[in-house]
Each structure stands twice: as structure tokens, then as C-alpha cells.
């Protein structure tokens, strides 16, 4: 194994989106020699596509906001299945992370008095999303990239080497985590350009690889989203939690076919856009669930007054959490009230003056103008659900983001599970990346320091085995091409484990996945290792198939409907099921197993933020009976 390129670091971060870069900055600031490895070019991560904003209770626009209200909204959005501790840390620390980003130079839209402006979003009680027009994710990535360049120039002044303490390995893919006993010892991968293998030795590895959307046909996700970190964690002995919960964003483009799935930001609705069916009706008024009824307007008049006077009116139902809106659109289309191309109409043209639309939603204006020949200042958009986000991910310790069962492995951002429960609120992703990216960097540094030189070692045999696995697709034969297998996988997940699920279809999906797994194991690719996209996809297939199986198995097991998991055969949420997480692992034979694990119970001071009546809609009777009659602690103001 001596012939491979080798690098030794304290901390290796896999993924250069918001979570990965924030983690790397933290580790480097704590004195760790840090590597960031990413599949794309530096600065092109999926995070750039986030449009709406960063949720943080800074109370710049509505002074009633505070972390408790944000926490409450997050738990409601996740239907009480969230890791309460992660939701708490997230709500408490998000403002600090936004101010820090501003201090590093991020551009924000401002209030009239020059503070960071905040916009309304689905499920958030107050205007809470710090934003830059509709390009917030791009600005977040650019700011973190700039911060890294600044740190590298600082290192150059001190050490004469820009990469002395922080290096980005771009266009490099990790295929295996390496271990020494139970502990992480490093990672194995290849340079996409040359196909040459590379070994990283490091006592701490942070997964920040994002999501799994490329397993679905209609998705807003980019090509990187093949579930790499999810699969790497599983294969390294870690576990995945909440995998049955996949978020279908209610508004993706539906026409023309080539752009189907591309995201239409929730800001369109936050800024006044409304959803109508083919009869011109604002149908969302018919879909307000009981748990949300008290907070949402019952008439169009009240909903319209809310934009100007939110304190004395209730919010429009278009701003319900994403799972509710996606299901409503799905129902309208199914019942024959859809738009010409199978979506519904999202209209902002009759709601705001053209110049305001162009100023507040410039990316949307251009996206529709250029890709669909639609002028959104003059006509409505056609939209429908698109696979957008996976709530499930690596099971981690809430405070340190350490992966359960694998010392030295950490996970932050979309690849980690727990924070969002069964459904994520818009805007809570960018804040998640910053809050938990930083925490993972911090904990990884502490872990390395605690080793005091007792570093794990990479075993030669493991490197040889990783190399053999990576080269396997270069086999002779007339077997499948990887693109065909991928397309069939996407169709299977879309049709059989999509937005509405049925037991029979998921069993069928598991059968098909089994067959696809066999085919993927026999896939043959042509050509050399240099920049060979067919080979890259052949390796990604393993990850996508593993993760898809976890989604399907967990979804089949959870016999209720909650957040991003809707069962036609079990249409209601069950208070008994709320007590359980489903946890996926690989057993000794490499098969996916799914186990129930009880959720941690929320401490009384956080339960006290909710009225008993509301808790009754989530908790089982024996749980309610155990609560004090008047919960104590800091209630909402």
C-alpha cells in the first residue's frame, strides 16, 4: 500500500457545503490540521441552491421572537419526533451563528435601521429568516469560502505555506472510512480527475456530505446527493435514524420536462404568493389540520391582512409546514383540479407589483423567464412536489455530533439525523449547518486532544480491500451500464416510496432494490480511471442503493403518517409511534436491519413551553398523565 498518495491530518471533513466548511473553520481555529474533501469544485456545494434564508430568532423584525418560540415552531414542524436537545441547541445558537457570518462579511438584506432583515416562512411564527434576496445559500457558502481563504493567507504569513493547517481537496471522492478497532483511523478515496487513489490518516472524521435526493427521479437536489455519508457511516458500524422521513418540497417546477423538480423557493409564498387550483380556488384553506387551526386564517381577507398586520391576524394557510402543503397539492392534482402539466398554480403576479417581484425574487424571475418562458410578474407558475431533503441521517450525540457507536466519527448538516424530526421547517437547514457544523468541529478537536498522541493506525489490509472494491467495476463483460441501473432506481423510489406510501408498493420496492443491488454489483464500466463519470456513478450506486433500502424498510415498518412519511393505509399520526425512532444498521452479513429505539423524553421546562391541550395532540395518555398539572419553567412571553 506504500504506493498510494497519503496525507496525515488531525481532522478530515468530508463535504464542503455549509456544515463541512463551518466544521473545518472551527477545527482549524482550535489548532487542528484540517483537510476538507469535496466531490465538486470548492464553492459549488449543494448549499448554494438554498434560496430562502437562515432561521434565527434575532427578533430584528418582530421583537416577540426568541429562542423558545423558535424551538416550539421546530418541534411542531417535526411533529414532536425531533431530538429535543438538538432542536434546543439549534434555536439557542442560531442567532450567534448568523451574527458571526455577518462579522465575516456576509451580505444581508437590511431593515430600515440597518439591522439584518428577516422574512416570513412556513411554520415560523414570526419573520425569522435572515436572507439575501433569494440567494442566501450562495452567500453563505461564499462567506465561508472567503473565511477559509483568509485563514489560509494568515497561515501563509505564519508558516510560509497557505495549506499549512487547512487544505481543500477538491474533486476527490471518499469511498471507505478506515478504522482501527472501533475507532475511526482515516478515509480512502480517489481523485476524480486522475482516478488515482488517496489515503487520509486522521483520528477524527466529520461527515458533512448532505442528502440522498439523487435516488429519486423528481428532485431539487444536485448530482452530489448520492447518500455517501449515510452509507459510509453504515458501513463503518454507525446507525441511521429517521430514514423514513423524506421531505417533498411542495413547489418544484413541473414544466418543461427538462427542469421538472427544480426548486421554487418558499419565499414566493412568504412574500405574498398564493396557491390556486384549476378552478381558481385558494385550496389551502381546506387543508389546515386541527393542530394548526388556531394559528392560521380561515378567510382570504384575514390571510391578506396578516402581511401588513401580523399581530392581530392569523397567517395564510399557504405558509403551513412543507409536508402539509405538499400533501394538499398532491390531493388537488389527484382529484382532477391540477394545472395543465400536473401541478397547481402559484401566483405572485396578482399579489405584488412587477418591480417588487423582480427585486425580492430575482432568481425566481430569471429561472422562469429563462427555463420556462414564463414571466412570473404577469402569469402564475406551475408547481408540484419535488424530493428536497432527507430528515433521516447518522444517529449522533446531540451536543457533540459524535456518531453513535463509532468513536472519532462525527456528522453534521443534512447527513445527520434527529434535529428535524419527521419534517424540517424551511430556513432551519442553513441554521442547522452553521450550529452543528461548528459543534462538530469543536468536538472533533476535543476528541483529537483527548487522545494525547494515542492515535489510531490505518491497516494495510483495509487499504488493499478498499482499493479492490473501488476497482471492481472495471470488469469485462456485457453487464449493465450504471446509468441504466441508476434510472431504474430513481423510478422505483419515485413511484413506490414517494410522497404517499402503501405497504404493498414498498414491499415491491424492496424486491426491486434487491434485484438492482445484484445488477449494480455486476455493473461494468469502460475506459480508464481518468475523469471517468461512468466509474464514478458505479461507485455511487452502492451508496444510493443502501440508503434507499433504509428508507424503504423504515417506511414499511412505521405504521402511521407523520411529517415526511404518509401512509395511505395508516393515514393518522399515532401517539404510540411517536415514542419510537427507527434505527437502521448493517448486521454481520451486511444486511440492513431496522430496530425501534425510544425517543429521549423532553425535560419539564421545555414541555412547559406548550399548552397541555397541544401536547395532548402529540403525546400518549400515559405520557400526559405523568406531567405536572401546570408545567413549570419559562413559558412563552
Amino acid at each position: 500500500m506504500g504506493e498510494h498518495e497519503r496525507h496525515v491530518y488531525d481532522v478530515v471533513v468530508i463535504g464542503a457545503g455549509g456544515a463541512g466548511l463551518r466544521a473545518a473553520i472551527e477545527a482549524r481555529q482550535r489548532g487542528m490540521r484540517t483537510a476538507v474533501i469535496c466531490k465538486s469544485l470548492f464553492g459549488k456545494a449543494h448549499t448554494v441552491m438554498a434560496e430562502g434564508g437562515i432561521a434565527a430568532a434575532m427578533a430584528n423584525v418582530n421583537s416577540h421572537d426568541d429562542w423558545q418560540v423558535h424551538f416550539r415552531d421546530t418541534m411542531r414542524g417535526g411533529k414532536f419526533l425531533n431530538s429535543w436537545r438538538m432542536a434546543q441547541l439549534h434555536a439557542q445558537e442560531a442567532p450567534q451563528r448568523v451574527w458571526e457570518l455577518e462579522a465575516w462579511g456576509a451580505l444581508f438584506d437590511r431593515t430600515p435601521d440597518g439591522r439584518i432583515s428577516q422574512r416570513n416562512f412556513g411554520g415560523h411564527e414570526y419573520p425569522r429568516l435572515a436572507h439575501v434576496g433569494d440567494r442566501t445559500g450562495l452567500e453563505l457558502i461564499r462567506t465561508l469560502q472567503q473565511r477559509i481563504v483568509a485563514l489560509q493567507q494568515e497561515d501563509f504569513r505564519q508558516h510560509g505555506d497557505y495549506e499549512a493547517r487547512l487544505r481543500v481537496f477538491a474533486e476527490c471522492t471518499i469511498t471507505e472510512l478506515l478504522k482501527d478497532g472501533p475507532r475511526v483511523a482515516g478515509a480512502f478515496g480517489y481523485w476524480r480527475e486522475s482516478g488515482r487513489f488517496v489515503v487520509f490518516e486522521a483520528p477524527a472524521v466529520i461527515l458533512a456530505t448532505g442528502g440522498i435526493g439523487k435516488s429519486y427521479k423528481v428532485t431539487s437536489n444536485s448530482w452530489e446527493y448520492t447518500g455517501d455519508g449515510h452509507a459510509l457511516a453504515l458501513l463503518a458500524g454507525g446507525s441511521l435514524v429517521n430514514m423514513e422521513f423524506v421531505q417533498f418540497h411542495p413547489t418544484g417546477m413541473v414544466w418543461p420536462p427538462s427542469v421538472k423538480g427544480i426548486l421554487v423557493t418558499e419565499s414566493v409564498r412568504g412574500d405574498g404568493g398564493v396557491l390556486r387550483n384549476s378552478e381558481g380556488k385558494r385550496f389551502m384553506f381546506d387543508y389546515v389540520p386541527d393542530v394548526f387551526r388556531a394559528k392560521y386564517a380561515e378567510t382570504e381577507e384575514e390571510a391578506d391582512r396578516w402581511y401588513a398586520d401580523p399581530d392581530s391576524n392569523r397567517r395564510p394557510p399557504e405558509l403551513l409546514p412543507r409536508d402539509e402543503v405538499a400533501r394538499a397539492i398532491n390531493s388537488e392534482v389527484k382529484e382532477g383540479r391540477g394545472s395543465p402539466h400536473g401541478g397547481v398554480l402559484l401566483d405572485v403576479s396578482s399579489r405584488l407589483p412587477a418591480d417588487v417581484i423582480r427585486r425580492k425574487l430575482p432568481s425566481m424571475y430569471h429561472q422562469f423567464k429563462e427555463l420556462a418562458d414564463v414571466d412570473i410578474t404577469a402569469e402564475p407558475m406551475e408547481v408540484g412536489p419535488t424530493c428536497h431533503y432527507v430528515m433521516g441521517g447518522v444517529e449522533v450525540d446531540p451536543d457533540t455530533e459524535g456518531a453513535v457507536g463509532v468513536p472519532g466519527l462525527f456528522a453534521a448538516g443534512e447527513v445527520a439525523g434527529g434535529m428535524h424530526g419527521s419534517n424540517r421547517l424551511g430556513g432551519n437547514s442553513l441554521s442547522d449547518l452553521l450550529v452543528f457544523g461548528r459543534r462538530a468541529g469543536l468536538a472533533a478537536a476535543a476528541w483529537v486532544e483527548s487522545l494525547a498522541g494515542d492515535s489510531p493506525a490505518v491497516a494495510a489490509d483495509d487499504v488493499t480491500a478498499a482499493e479492490r472494491t473501488a476497482l471492481a467495476p472495471f470488469r469485462d463483460g456485457t453487464a449493465d451500464n450504471p446509468y441504466a441501473v441508476h434510472q431504474e432506481l430513481q423510478q422505483t423510489m419515485n413511484d413506490l416510496v414517494g410522497i404517499i406510501r402503501r405497504a404493498g408498493e414498498m414491499e415491491e420496492a424492496l424486491d426491486r432494490l434487491e434485484r438492482l443491488r445484484k445488477r449494480a454489483a455486476e455493473v461494468a464500466v469502460e475506459g480508464h480511471r481518468q475523469f471517468n463519470p461512468g466509474w464514478h456513478l458505479a461507485l455511487d450506486l452502492r451508496n444510493m442503493l443502501l440508503v434507499s433500502e433504509c428508507v424503504a424498510r423504515a417506511a414499511l415498518q412505521r405504521e402511521e403518517s407523520r411529517g415526511g412519511h404518509t401512509r395511505e393505509d395508516f393515514p393518522k399520526a399515532s401517539a404510540q409511534w411517536r415514542r419510537w425512532n427507527l434505527v437502521c444498521r448493517l448486521d454481520a452479513t451486511g444486511q440492513v436491519s431496522v430496530d425501534r429505539k425510544p425517543l429521549a423524553s423532553m425535560p419539564p421546562e421545555l414541555l412547559g413551553l406548550f399548552e397541555r391541550k397541544e401536547l395532548a395532540s402529540y403525546l400518549a395518555e400515559d405520557e400526559l398523565a405523568g406531567l405536572p398539572e401546570q408545567p413549570t419553567g419559562g413559558g412563552p412571553r
Binding site: V48, V98, D113, R142, V149, P256, S258, P482, E526
Partner: protein
Amino acid sequence: MDITLKIRRFDPENDTEPHWEAYGVTVLPTDRVLDALHKVKWEVDGSLTFRRSCAHGVCGSDAMRINGRNRLACKTLIKDVNPDKPITVEAIKGLPLQKDLVVDMEPFFDAYRDVMPFLITRGNEPTRERLQSSKDRERFDDTTKCILCAACTTSCPVYWVDGQYFGPAAIVNAHRFIFDSRDEGAQQRLEILNEREGVWRCRTTFNCTEACPRGIEITKAIQEVKRALLTRAV
């Protein structure tokens, strides 16, 4: 509809020179050039190599020369590039060719890093946000839209003949900080851009402005930097 894509291919393991190859594919007029390239890769030749990521014009990975003009493949509709004739697709010019449509972006990012693309301030970090008026924020809004796709820099005839020139994208990213009311490093950056390979190389041909997929008024930004250098005021 049936179209022909003429793609300039280069495989460094087997070719000494790039060569053109034609591929026939069936597409919709509303498909994008990126979709047509995917069709070639998935159905005809799995070795065709190009970068792409977000696929709707935000990440800036798939800048290429389409019919001789720099564009993002994911934002260029087939119907808009005269599909009755063969559509030519080649890598962007002025950066070292690696394979097919992929170039080495390092020289481009080197120039970006040289202009100190980060906020420079003195004193302690504030506990909350700094205040910035909407007017001050508007001043540099346009140049914050850059996605570092290199379409501008690799459309610049000065850059083609002189790789030392910073190129439009680096100047855009310097502009973004020079005119940020919170930044205190303007003079340092202006000094860098005042050098031989700096803004004075610009011949105002407007290629960059035309090429920018984000609609940034790049030539205007470069002019503003030149003016700031002459007046030493931002």
C-alpha cells in the same frame, strides 16, 4: 426534434490534440444543452466528461463555449442556439484543458485569492451585526451575485493572450469588498489591482458583461475600480 451536437473531445491518455466529434440526439426544443450532453453521456458515450452540479445556474460549474459563446449549459435552451445547424460545444478558453469539457480552474482561483476576497476590518468583532444602510448595501449588490463560473474571465481576449492578467472575475470579487461600507481593506486591494497585471489591462471590450450568466455589469464594475484608483476614493 433531432439535433447534432459537435463536441470538442480530448482524452489526455490517448489524444495529443483535441478533435471534434458529432453526436445525433433527440431532444425537446425546451431542453437545455446540459440535457443534450447528458443524453450523449448516458446513451451514446459514457466517457464524455463535463462538470455540472446544481443544474440551474447557481453553482457555476458548467460554463462552456456553446456556438462560440461562453454560457452555462444548464441555462441554455436548445431552441435558443439555432438547432437547425450543428450546435458546437467546447471547453472554455484560456485555462489548461484537462479532458473533454473540463479545464484546470486553479489559475482562475489563484487570481481570485490574490485580490484578498474576504472582509478586512480592524478592532474587535461585534457581538451582534454591524449596521449597514440599504443604500450602502446596494452599492455592491451587483458584484455579490458572482458564482465564480469563469465565463467572463475566459471570454476576455486580454486574458487569452496574457494569463498573468487577473481577469474580470477577480476584479468583480475585489469590487465586492472595495465598495462594501464595512470593509477597511480597500486601499490594499486597489494597490494590488493597480499593478501591471491589474485593471489597466482591461480594454473595455464588454465580452465579460455579455458572457456573465448572472447579468452582472462587469465592465462597469471594472470601470468603477479604475475610477477609484484615479480618485483614491470609494
